[in-house]
Symmetry: C2
Subunit: 222 residues, 2 copies
Amino acid sequence: MSGAVDKLGSVGLADALVGQSGSPASDGKAPRTARGEKTLRKILDAALAEFGQKGFHDSSIVGITTRAKVALGTFYTYFDSKEAVFAALVRDMSQQVRDHVAPDIEGAADEIDRERLALASYLRFVLDHKEVYRIIDEAEFVDPAGFRTHYETAAARIAARLEQATAKGQMRDDGALATEVRAWAIMGMNVFLGLRFGVWGRQDPELVAAHANDLIARGVQP
Amino acid sequence: MSGAVDKLGSVGLADALVGQSGSPASDGKAPRTARGEKTLRKILDAALAEFGQKGFHDSSIVGITTRAKVALGTFYTYFDSKEAVFAALVRDMSQQVRDHVAPDIEGAADEIDRERLALASYLRFVLDHKEVYRIIDEAEFVDPAGFRTHYETAAARIAARLEQATAKGQMRDDGALATEVRAWAIMGMNVFLGLRFGVWGRQDPELVAAHANDLIARGVQP
DNA sequence: ATGAAAGTTGAACCGAGTTTCAACTTATGA
DNA sequence: TCATAAGTTGAAACTCGGTTCAACTTTCAT
Protein backbone atom coordinates (compact mmCIF):
# COMPACT_ATOMS: atom_id res chain seq x y z
CA MET A 1 0.00 0.00 0.00
CA SER A 2 2.88 2.33 0.81
CA GLY A 3 4.28 1.43 -2.57
CA ALA A 4 7.97 2.15 -2.57
CA VAL A 5 9.57 1.63 -5.91
CA ASP A 6 11.96 -0.97 -4.57
CA LYS A 7 8.98 -2.86 -3.18
CA LEU A 8 7.94 -3.32 -6.75
CA GLY A 9 11.45 -4.29 -7.70
CA SER A 10 12.13 -1.22 -9.76
CA VAL A 11 13.96 -1.79 -12.98
CA GLY A 12 16.65 0.55 -14.21
CA LEU A 13 16.77 3.82 -12.36
CA ALA A 14 18.67 5.68 -14.97
CA ASP A 15 16.29 4.16 -17.48
CA ALA A 16 13.42 5.95 -15.83
CA LEU A 17 15.19 9.16 -16.64
CA VAL A 18 16.63 8.36 -19.98
CA GLY A 19 13.87 6.16 -21.30
CA GLN A 20 14.32 2.96 -23.21
CA SER A 21 15.06 4.63 -26.49
CA GLY A 22 16.65 8.03 -26.64
CA SER A 23 16.38 10.85 -24.17
CA PRO A 24 13.14 12.06 -22.55
CA ALA A 25 13.46 15.72 -21.74
CA SER A 26 17.00 16.46 -20.71
CA ASP A 27 20.22 14.60 -20.08
CA GLY A 28 23.13 15.50 -17.91
CA LYS A 29 20.66 14.74 -15.15
CA ALA A 30 21.51 11.09 -14.74
CA PRO A 31 23.47 10.27 -11.59
CA ARG A 32 27.17 9.53 -12.12
CA THR A 33 27.97 7.87 -8.82
CA ALA A 34 26.41 5.25 -6.56
CA ARG A 35 25.55 8.00 -4.13
CA GLY A 36 23.60 9.91 -6.72
CA GLU A 37 21.84 6.75 -7.80
CA LYS A 38 20.66 6.21 -4.25
CA THR A 39 19.34 9.75 -3.98
CA LEU A 40 17.50 9.44 -7.26
CA ARG A 41 15.85 6.25 -6.03
CA LYS A 42 14.77 7.99 -2.84
CA ILE A 43 13.20 10.79 -4.86
CA LEU A 44 11.36 8.41 -7.17
CA ASP A 45 10.05 6.43 -4.21
CA ALA A 46 8.90 9.60 -2.55
CA ALA A 47 7.30 10.88 -5.73
CA LEU A 48 5.35 7.68 -6.16
CA ALA A 49 3.98 7.98 -2.65
CA GLU A 50 3.23 11.68 -2.95
CA PHE A 51 1.54 11.56 -6.34
CA GLY A 52 -0.26 8.35 -5.49
CA GLN A 53 -1.78 9.82 -2.36
CA LYS A 54 -2.48 13.40 -3.33
CA GLY A 55 -2.62 13.42 -7.10
CA PHE A 56 -0.48 15.65 -9.28
CA HIS A 57 -2.04 18.99 -8.46
CA ASP A 58 -2.00 18.68 -4.69
CA SER A 59 1.48 17.24 -4.67
CA SER A 60 4.46 19.51 -4.30
CA ILE A 61 8.20 19.30 -4.78
CA VAL A 62 8.58 20.13 -1.13
CA GLY A 63 6.31 17.21 -0.30
CA ILE A 64 8.47 14.92 -2.39
CA THR A 65 11.81 16.09 -1.05
CA THR A 66 10.54 16.01 2.51
CA ARG A 67 9.45 12.39 2.13
CA ALA A 68 12.75 11.58 0.46
CA LYS A 69 14.61 13.40 3.23
CA VAL A 70 16.68 15.46 0.85
CA ALA A 71 16.89 19.20 0.32
CA LEU A 72 14.59 20.99 -2.03
CA GLY A 73 17.36 21.88 -4.42
CA THR A 74 18.49 18.29 -4.76
CA PHE A 75 15.37 17.57 -6.70
CA TYR A 76 16.55 19.75 -9.54
CA THR A 77 19.77 17.82 -9.79
CA TYR A 78 17.74 14.94 -11.24
CA PHE A 79 14.64 16.45 -12.75
CA ASP A 80 13.82 19.57 -14.68
CA SER A 81 10.32 19.96 -13.33
CA LYS A 82 7.41 18.44 -11.51
CA GLU A 83 6.08 17.15 -14.83
CA ALA A 84 9.40 15.47 -15.53
CA VAL A 85 9.35 13.28 -12.41
CA PHE A 86 5.81 12.37 -13.15
CA ALA A 87 6.69 11.30 -16.66
CA ALA A 88 9.64 9.26 -15.38
CA LEU A 89 7.29 7.61 -12.91
CA VAL A 90 4.76 6.77 -15.60
CA ARG A 91 7.37 5.04 -17.69
CA ASP A 92 8.58 3.15 -14.66
CA MET A 93 5.09 2.10 -13.53
CA SER A 94 4.07 1.09 -17.00
CA GLN A 95 7.04 -1.25 -17.00
CA GLN A 96 6.11 -2.56 -13.54
CA VAL A 97 2.68 -3.65 -14.68
CA ARG A 98 4.13 -5.43 -17.70
CA ASP A 99 6.78 -7.18 -15.64
CA HIS A 100 4.25 -8.26 -13.07
CA VAL A 101 1.84 -9.83 -15.53
CA ALA A 102 4.32 -11.42 -17.95
CA PRO A 103 5.47 -14.38 -15.83
CA ASP A 104 1.91 -15.08 -14.65
CA ILE A 105 0.59 -15.84 -18.13
CA GLU A 106 3.28 -18.21 -19.27
CA GLY A 107 1.78 -21.53 -18.35
CA ALA A 108 -1.59 -21.12 -19.99
CA ALA A 109 -3.76 -24.06 -20.99
CA ASP A 110 -4.94 -22.29 -24.12
CA GLU A 111 -4.74 -18.84 -25.64
CA ILE A 112 -8.09 -17.66 -24.31
CA ASP A 113 -7.30 -18.82 -20.80
CA ARG A 114 -4.16 -16.74 -21.06
CA GLU A 115 -6.36 -13.66 -20.97
CA ARG A 116 -7.94 -14.89 -17.76
CA LEU A 117 -4.54 -15.26 -16.17
CA ALA A 118 -3.57 -11.81 -17.39
CA LEU A 119 -6.64 -10.20 -15.87
CA ALA A 120 -6.27 -12.06 -12.58
CA SER A 121 -2.65 -11.00 -12.39
CA TYR A 122 -3.52 -7.41 -13.20
CA LEU A 123 -6.26 -7.35 -10.57
CA ARG A 124 -3.88 -8.66 -7.94
CA PHE A 125 -1.42 -5.96 -8.90
CA VAL A 126 -4.02 -3.20 -8.64
CA LEU A 127 -5.20 -4.56 -5.32
CA ASP A 128 -1.88 -3.83 -3.68
CA HIS A 129 -0.71 -0.94 -5.80
CA LYS A 130 -3.65 1.43 -6.05
CA GLU A 131 -1.23 4.35 -6.32
CA VAL A 132 0.09 2.95 -9.57
CA TYR A 133 -3.39 2.72 -11.03
CA ARG A 134 -4.02 6.31 -10.12
CA ILE A 135 -0.77 7.62 -11.52
CA ILE A 136 -1.25 5.93 -14.87
CA ASP A 137 -4.77 7.31 -15.06
CA GLU A 138 -3.67 10.80 -14.24
CA ALA A 139 -1.02 10.57 -16.92
CA GLU A 140 -3.81 11.21 -19.42
CA PHE A 141 -3.54 14.84 -18.37
CA VAL A 142 -0.05 15.27 -17.01
CA ASP A 143 1.89 13.17 -19.51
CA PRO A 144 -0.40 12.45 -22.47
CA ALA A 145 2.38 10.94 -24.55
CA GLY A 146 3.33 8.51 -21.80
CA PHE A 147 -0.31 7.65 -21.26
CA ARG A 148 -0.94 6.93 -24.89
CA THR A 149 2.21 4.87 -25.21
CA HIS A 150 1.24 2.84 -22.19
CA TYR A 151 -2.16 1.88 -23.55
CA GLU A 152 -1.16 1.45 -27.16
CA THR A 153 1.60 -0.86 -26.07
CA ALA A 154 -0.73 -2.82 -23.85
CA ALA A 155 -3.32 -3.10 -26.61
CA ALA A 156 -0.69 -4.26 -29.05
CA ARG A 157 0.35 -7.01 -26.64
CA ILE A 158 -3.22 -8.19 -26.25
CA ALA A 159 -3.78 -8.06 -30.00
CA ALA A 160 -0.67 -10.16 -30.56
CA ARG A 161 -2.03 -12.79 -28.19
CA LEU A 162 -5.34 -12.77 -29.99
CA GLU A 163 -3.56 -13.33 -33.29
CA GLN A 164 -1.98 -16.36 -31.69
CA ALA A 165 -5.39 -17.59 -30.63
CA THR A 166 -6.67 -17.19 -34.16
CA ALA A 167 -3.67 -18.99 -35.58
CA LYS A 168 -4.29 -21.90 -33.26
CA GLY A 169 -7.93 -22.00 -34.24
CA GLN A 170 -9.06 -21.03 -30.76
CA MET A 171 -10.62 -17.82 -31.91
CA ARG A 172 -12.99 -16.88 -34.70
CA ASP A 173 -11.25 -14.94 -37.44
CA ASP A 174 -13.32 -11.87 -38.26
CA GLY A 175 -10.61 -9.72 -39.74
CA ALA A 176 -8.14 -7.14 -38.54
CA LEU A 177 -10.62 -4.59 -37.27
CA ALA A 178 -12.37 -7.22 -35.18
CA THR A 179 -9.08 -8.13 -33.60
CA GLU A 180 -8.26 -4.57 -32.73
CA VAL A 181 -11.73 -3.93 -31.38
CA ARG A 182 -11.47 -7.04 -29.25
CA ALA A 183 -8.06 -6.06 -27.95
CA TRP A 184 -9.23 -2.62 -26.87
CA ALA A 185 -12.45 -4.03 -25.50
CA ILE A 186 -10.56 -6.52 -23.37
CA MET A 187 -8.20 -3.83 -22.16
CA GLY A 188 -11.06 -1.51 -21.21
CA MET A 189 -12.73 -4.37 -19.43
CA ASN A 190 -9.62 -5.10 -17.44
CA VAL A 191 -9.07 -1.48 -16.47
CA PHE A 192 -12.62 -0.92 -15.30
CA LEU A 193 -12.75 -4.20 -13.43
CA GLY A 194 -9.56 -3.05 -11.76
CA LEU A 195 -11.22 0.20 -10.79
CA ARG A 196 -14.37 -1.45 -9.49
CA PHE A 197 -12.95 -4.52 -7.79
CA GLY A 198 -9.45 -3.36 -6.98
CA VAL A 199 -9.49 0.34 -6.24
CA TRP A 200 -13.04 1.14 -5.13
CA GLY A 201 -13.94 -2.24 -3.72
CA ARG A 202 -12.26 -5.54 -3.13
CA GLN A 203 -13.18 -8.85 -4.62
CA ASP A 204 -11.42 -12.14 -5.24
CA PRO A 205 -9.40 -11.56 -8.43
CA GLU A 206 -9.75 -15.18 -9.56
CA LEU A 207 -13.52 -15.01 -9.31
CA VAL A 208 -13.80 -11.77 -11.22
CA ALA A 209 -11.34 -12.94 -13.84
CA ALA A 210 -13.27 -16.17 -14.29
CA HIS A 211 -16.53 -14.36 -14.94
CA ALA A 212 -14.89 -11.89 -17.30
CA ASN A 213 -13.13 -14.61 -19.20
CA ASP A 214 -16.39 -16.45 -19.56
CA LEU A 215 -17.74 -13.37 -21.24
CA ILE A 216 -14.81 -13.26 -23.63
CA ALA A 217 -14.93 -16.94 -24.41
CA ARG A 218 -18.65 -17.58 -24.80
CA GLY A 219 -20.40 -14.25 -24.51
CA VAL A 220 -23.62 -14.04 -22.56
CA GLN A 221 -25.73 -16.37 -24.69
CA PRO A 222 -27.90 -18.84 -22.75
CA MET B 1 -16.29 20.15 -31.97
CA SER B 2 -16.61 23.60 -30.40
CA GLY B 3 -19.05 22.04 -27.99
CA ALA B 4 -21.22 24.78 -26.62
CA VAL B 5 -23.56 23.60 -23.94
CA ASP B 6 -26.60 24.73 -25.84
CA LYS B 7 -25.36 22.74 -28.81
CA LEU B 8 -25.86 19.71 -26.67
CA GLY B 9 -29.25 20.94 -25.63
CA SER B 10 -28.28 21.62 -22.07
CA VAL B 11 -30.80 20.62 -19.47
CA GLY B 12 -31.54 22.79 -16.47
CA LEU B 13 -28.98 25.47 -15.91
CA ALA B 14 -29.85 26.04 -12.32
CA ASP B 15 -29.80 22.27 -11.95
CA ALA B 16 -26.17 22.22 -12.87
CA LEU B 17 -25.56 24.41 -9.88
CA VAL B 18 -28.00 22.99 -7.43
CA GLY B 19 -27.83 19.37 -8.48
CA GLN B 20 -30.76 17.03 -8.82
CA SER B 21 -31.03 16.27 -5.14
CA GLY B 22 -30.00 18.81 -2.57
CA SER B 23 -27.31 21.43 -2.84
CA PRO B 24 -23.82 20.86 -4.20
CA ALA B 25 -21.44 23.30 -2.61
CA SER B 26 -23.25 26.54 -2.03
CA ASP B 27 -26.57 28.14 -2.78
CA GLY B 28 -27.48 31.76 -3.14
CA LYS B 29 -25.46 31.46 -6.31
CA ALA B 30 -28.32 30.54 -8.62
CA PRO B 31 -29.36 33.30 -11.00
CA ARG B 32 -32.63 35.06 -10.12
CA THR B 33 -33.35 36.75 -13.41
CA ALA B 34 -33.31 35.89 -17.08
CA ARG B 35 -30.27 38.06 -17.47
CA GLY B 36 -28.38 36.14 -14.84
CA GLU B 37 -29.44 32.86 -16.40
CA LYS B 38 -27.97 33.95 -19.70
CA THR B 39 -24.66 34.91 -18.11
CA LEU B 40 -24.46 31.62 -16.28
CA ARG B 41 -24.99 29.79 -19.54
CA LYS B 42 -22.23 31.79 -21.18
CA ILE B 43 -19.86 30.89 -18.37
CA LEU B 44 -20.70 27.20 -18.53
CA ASP B 45 -20.23 27.16 -22.30
CA ALA B 46 -16.90 28.89 -21.93
CA ALA B 47 -15.83 26.57 -19.15
CA LEU B 48 -16.63 23.53 -21.26
CA ALA B 49 -14.50 24.86 -24.09
CA GLU B 50 -11.66 25.94 -21.82
CA PHE B 51 -11.46 22.75 -19.75
CA GLY B 52 -12.03 20.58 -22.79
CA GLN B 53 -9.15 22.15 -24.65
CA LYS B 54 -6.60 22.78 -21.96
CA GLY B 55 -7.51 20.48 -19.12
CA PHE B 56 -8.15 21.61 -15.60
CA HIS B 57 -4.67 22.63 -14.63
CA ASP B 58 -3.90 24.76 -17.65
CA SER B 59 -7.31 26.37 -17.63
CA SER B 60 -7.83 29.61 -15.78
CA ILE B 61 -10.77 31.63 -14.58
CA VAL B 62 -9.52 34.47 -16.73
CA GLY B 63 -9.53 32.11 -19.68
CA ILE B 64 -13.12 31.19 -18.95
CA THR B 65 -14.39 34.73 -18.40
CA THR B 66 -12.56 35.98 -21.46
CA ARG B 67 -14.21 33.35 -23.63
CA ALA B 68 -17.54 34.13 -22.01
CA LYS B 69 -16.95 37.83 -22.54
CA VAL B 70 -17.74 38.75 -18.96
CA ALA B 71 -15.62 40.31 -16.26
CA LEU B 72 -13.48 38.23 -13.99
CA GLY B 73 -15.54 39.03 -10.93
CA THR B 74 -18.76 37.88 -12.57
CA PHE B 75 -17.53 34.34 -12.33
CA TYR B 76 -17.76 34.45 -8.57
CA THR B 77 -21.38 35.50 -8.73
CA TYR B 78 -22.18 31.97 -9.88
CA PHE B 79 -19.40 29.76 -8.63
CA ASP B 80 -17.33 29.54 -5.48
CA SER B 81 -14.21 28.26 -7.14
CA LYS B 82 -12.60 26.74 -10.18
CA GLU B 83 -13.40 23.29 -8.80
CA ALA B 84 -17.04 24.25 -8.45
CA VAL B 85 -17.57 25.03 -12.14
CA PHE B 86 -15.83 21.87 -13.04
CA ALA B 87 -18.11 19.86 -10.78
CA ALA B 88 -21.17 21.57 -12.22
CA LEU B 89 -19.91 20.74 -15.67
CA VAL B 90 -19.36 17.10 -14.80
CA ARG B 91 -22.92 16.76 -13.57
CA ASP B 92 -24.18 18.44 -16.69
CA MET B 93 -22.08 16.37 -19.08
CA SER B 94 -22.96 13.15 -17.32
CA GLN B 95 -26.58 14.01 -17.94
CA GLN B 96 -25.84 14.87 -21.59
CA VAL B 97 -24.42 11.44 -22.27
CA ARG B 98 -27.42 9.74 -20.67
CA ASP B 99 -29.88 11.88 -22.57
CA HIS B 100 -28.11 11.28 -25.83
CA VAL B 101 -28.08 7.51 -25.53
CA ALA B 102 -31.52 6.93 -24.00
CA PRO B 103 -33.68 7.58 -27.07
CA ASP B 104 -31.32 5.63 -29.32
CA ILE B 105 -31.77 2.34 -27.50
CA GLU B 106 -35.54 2.30 -27.33
CA GLY B 107 -36.42 0.32 -30.41
CA ALA B 108 -34.17 -2.66 -29.80
CA ALA B 109 -34.80 -6.04 -31.39
CA ASP B 110 -33.64 -7.84 -28.29
CA GLU B 111 -31.92 -7.01 -25.02
CA ILE B 112 -28.44 -7.85 -26.21
CA ASP B 113 -28.83 -5.80 -29.33
CA ARG B 114 -29.79 -2.93 -27.07
CA GLU B 115 -26.19 -2.87 -25.87
CA ARG B 116 -25.01 -2.57 -29.44
CA LEU B 117 -27.23 0.44 -29.97
CA ALA B 118 -26.01 1.94 -26.72
CA LEU B 119 -22.37 1.62 -27.72
CA ALA B 120 -22.96 2.95 -31.22
CA SER B 121 -24.80 5.92 -29.78
CA TYR B 122 -22.06 6.55 -27.25
CA LEU B 123 -19.38 6.35 -29.93
CA ARG B 124 -21.23 8.85 -32.07
CA PHE B 125 -21.45 11.15 -29.09
CA VAL B 126 -17.75 10.90 -28.31
CA LEU B 127 -16.92 11.47 -31.96
CA ASP B 128 -18.36 14.94 -31.90
CA HIS B 129 -17.85 15.80 -28.25
CA LYS B 130 -14.31 14.84 -27.43
CA GLU B 131 -14.19 17.60 -24.82
CA VAL B 132 -16.91 15.88 -22.86
CA TYR B 133 -14.98 12.64 -22.82
CA ARG B 134 -11.95 14.44 -21.51
CA ILE B 135 -13.80 16.33 -18.81
CA ILE B 136 -15.45 13.24 -17.42
CA ASP B 137 -12.11 11.48 -17.37
CA GLU B 138 -10.40 14.31 -15.60
CA ALA B 139 -13.15 14.33 -13.01
CA GLU B 140 -11.40 11.34 -11.47
CA PHE B 141 -8.97 13.84 -10.02
CA VAL B 142 -10.82 17.12 -9.86
CA ASP B 143 -14.23 15.91 -8.73
CA PRO B 144 -13.85 12.31 -7.53
CA ALA B 145 -17.37 12.17 -6.13
CA GLY B 146 -18.89 13.29 -9.41
CA PHE B 147 -16.71 10.85 -11.30
CA ARG B 148 -17.70 7.93 -9.16
CA THR B 149 -21.36 8.83 -9.31
CA HIS B 150 -21.18 9.05 -13.07
CA TYR B 151 -19.74 5.58 -13.51
CA GLU B 152 -21.69 3.87 -10.76
CA THR B 153 -24.88 5.24 -12.25
CA ALA B 154 -23.90 4.13 -15.71
CA ALA B 155 -22.96 0.66 -14.48
CA ALA B 156 -26.26 0.37 -12.64
CA ARG B 157 -28.15 1.20 -15.82
CA ILE B 158 -26.27 -1.43 -17.78
CA ALA B 159 -26.79 -3.98 -15.01
CA ALA B 160 -30.51 -3.26 -15.03
CA ARG B 161 -30.64 -3.95 -18.74
CA LEU B 162 -28.73 -7.18 -18.25
CA GLU B 163 -31.26 -8.27 -15.62
CA GLN B 164 -33.93 -7.70 -18.22
CA ALA B 165 -32.02 -9.84 -20.66
CA THR B 166 -31.79 -12.60 -18.09
CA ALA B 167 -35.48 -12.33 -17.29
CA LYS B 168 -36.30 -12.72 -20.96
CA GLY B 169 -34.05 -15.72 -21.25
CA GLN B 170 -31.68 -13.92 -23.59
CA MET B 171 -28.77 -14.13 -21.20
CA ARG B 172 -27.22 -16.90 -19.15
CA ASP B 173 -27.92 -16.49 -15.44
CA ASP B 174 -24.67 -16.91 -13.57
CA GLY B 175 -25.59 -15.03 -10.43
CA ALA B 176 -25.35 -11.49 -9.15
CA LEU B 177 -21.57 -11.15 -9.23
CA ALA B 178 -21.49 -12.28 -12.84
CA THR B 179 -24.01 -9.60 -13.72
CA GLU B 180 -22.03 -6.89 -12.02
CA VAL B 181 -18.80 -8.05 -13.59
CA ARG B 182 -20.47 -8.06 -16.99
CA ALA B 183 -21.89 -4.59 -16.47
CA TRP B 184 -18.53 -3.10 -15.55
CA ALA B 185 -16.79 -5.06 -18.29
CA ILE B 186 -19.18 -3.70 -20.89
CA MET B 187 -18.79 -0.19 -19.56
CA GLY B 188 -15.00 -0.40 -19.65
CA MET B 189 -15.19 -1.75 -23.15
CA ASN B 190 -17.35 1.12 -24.28
CA VAL B 191 -15.13 3.75 -22.70
CA PHE B 192 -11.94 2.39 -24.19
CA LEU B 193 -13.46 1.90 -27.60
CA GLY B 194 -14.56 5.50 -27.31
CA LEU B 195 -11.00 6.52 -26.55
CA ARG B 196 -9.48 4.48 -29.37
CA PHE B 197 -12.06 4.98 -32.11
CA GLY B 198 -13.57 8.31 -31.11
CA VAL B 199 -10.93 10.44 -29.46
CA TRP B 200 -7.60 9.16 -30.77
CA GLY B 201 -8.78 7.85 -34.06
CA ARG B 202 -11.95 7.74 -36.05
CA GLN B 203 -13.87 4.71 -37.17
CA ASP B 204 -17.42 3.94 -38.19
CA PRO B 205 -19.32 3.62 -34.90
CA GLU B 206 -21.72 1.04 -36.31
CA LEU B 207 -18.87 -1.20 -37.38
CA VAL B 208 -17.05 -1.00 -34.08
CA ALA B 209 -20.27 -1.51 -32.15
CA ALA B 210 -21.13 -4.55 -34.25
CA HIS B 211 -17.79 -6.22 -33.53
CA ALA B 212 -17.98 -5.40 -29.84
CA ASN B 213 -21.53 -6.67 -29.58
CA ASP B 214 -20.51 -9.85 -31.26
CA LEU B 215 -17.98 -10.32 -28.51
CA ILE B 216 -20.63 -9.78 -25.85
CA ALA B 217 -23.15 -12.03 -27.50
CA ARG B 218 -21.02 -14.99 -28.57
CA GLY B 219 -17.55 -14.41 -27.27
CA VAL B 220 -14.58 -15.23 -29.46
CA GLN B 221 -15.16 -18.96 -29.84
CA PRO B 222 -14.71 -20.35 -33.36
C1' DA C 1 -40.92 57.28 -11.90
C1' DT C 2 -38.02 55.48 -8.35
C1' DG C 3 -35.72 52.80 -5.12
C1' DA C 4 -34.15 48.34 -3.94
C1' DA C 5 -32.37 44.08 -5.58
C1' DA C 6 -29.66 41.71 -8.93
C1' DG C 7 -25.93 41.69 -11.67
C1' DT C 8 -21.35 43.45 -13.45
C1' DT C 9 -16.74 45.24 -13.35
C1' DG C 10 -11.55 44.82 -12.99
C1' DA C 11 -7.75 46.48 -10.23
C1' DA C 12 -5.42 44.84 -6.41
C1' DC C 13 -4.51 41.50 -2.98
C1' DC C 14 -2.62 37.29 -1.65
C1' DG C 15 -0.75 32.84 -0.90
C1' DA C 16 1.39 29.00 -2.54
C1' DG C 17 4.60 26.55 -4.76
C1' DT C 18 8.17 26.26 -8.42
C1' DT C 19 12.71 27.32 -9.57
C1' DT C 20 17.34 29.44 -8.98
C1' DC C 21 21.85 29.80 -7.09
C1' DA C 22 26.09 30.43 -4.68
C1' DA C 23 28.15 28.37 -0.77
C1' DC C 24 29.25 24.07 1.16
C1' DT C 25 30.26 18.91 1.71
C1' DT C 26 31.55 14.47 0.08
C1' DA C 27 33.73 11.33 -3.08
C1' DT C 28 37.21 9.98 -6.46
C1' DG C 29 41.39 9.19 -8.95
C1' DA C 30 45.98 10.67 -10.13
C1' DT D 1 47.46 13.88 -0.40
C1' DC D 2 45.33 17.11 -3.01
C1' DA D 3 42.56 18.75 -6.86
C1' DT D 4 38.55 18.32 -9.19
C1' DA D 5 34.12 16.66 -10.08
C1' DA D 6 29.73 15.25 -8.17
C1' DG D 7 26.35 15.99 -5.14
C1' DT D 8 23.78 18.66 -1.45
C1' DT D 9 21.74 22.53 0.82
C1' DG D 10 17.88 25.88 1.82
C1' DA D 11 16.94 30.69 1.76
C1' DA D 12 15.16 33.86 -1.38
C1' DA D 13 13.46 35.34 -5.80
C1' DC D 14 9.90 34.91 -8.86
C1' DT D 15 5.63 33.69 -11.06
C1' DC D 16 1.17 33.10 -11.60
C1' DG D 17 -3.45 32.60 -11.07
C1' DG D 18 -7.33 32.33 -7.69
C1' DT D 19 -10.12 35.27 -4.96
C1' DT D 20 -11.93 39.64 -2.94
C1' DC D 21 -14.48 43.82 -2.94
C1' DA D 22 -16.34 48.40 -3.27
C1' DA D 23 -18.03 51.15 -6.93
C1' DC D 24 -21.00 51.09 -10.71
C1' DT D 25 -24.94 49.68 -14.01
C1' DT D 26 -29.09 47.39 -15.18
C1' DT D 27 -33.51 45.47 -14.17
C1' DC D 28 -37.93 45.24 -12.18
C1' DA D 29 -41.75 45.68 -9.01
C1' DT D 30 -44.54 49.03 -6.97
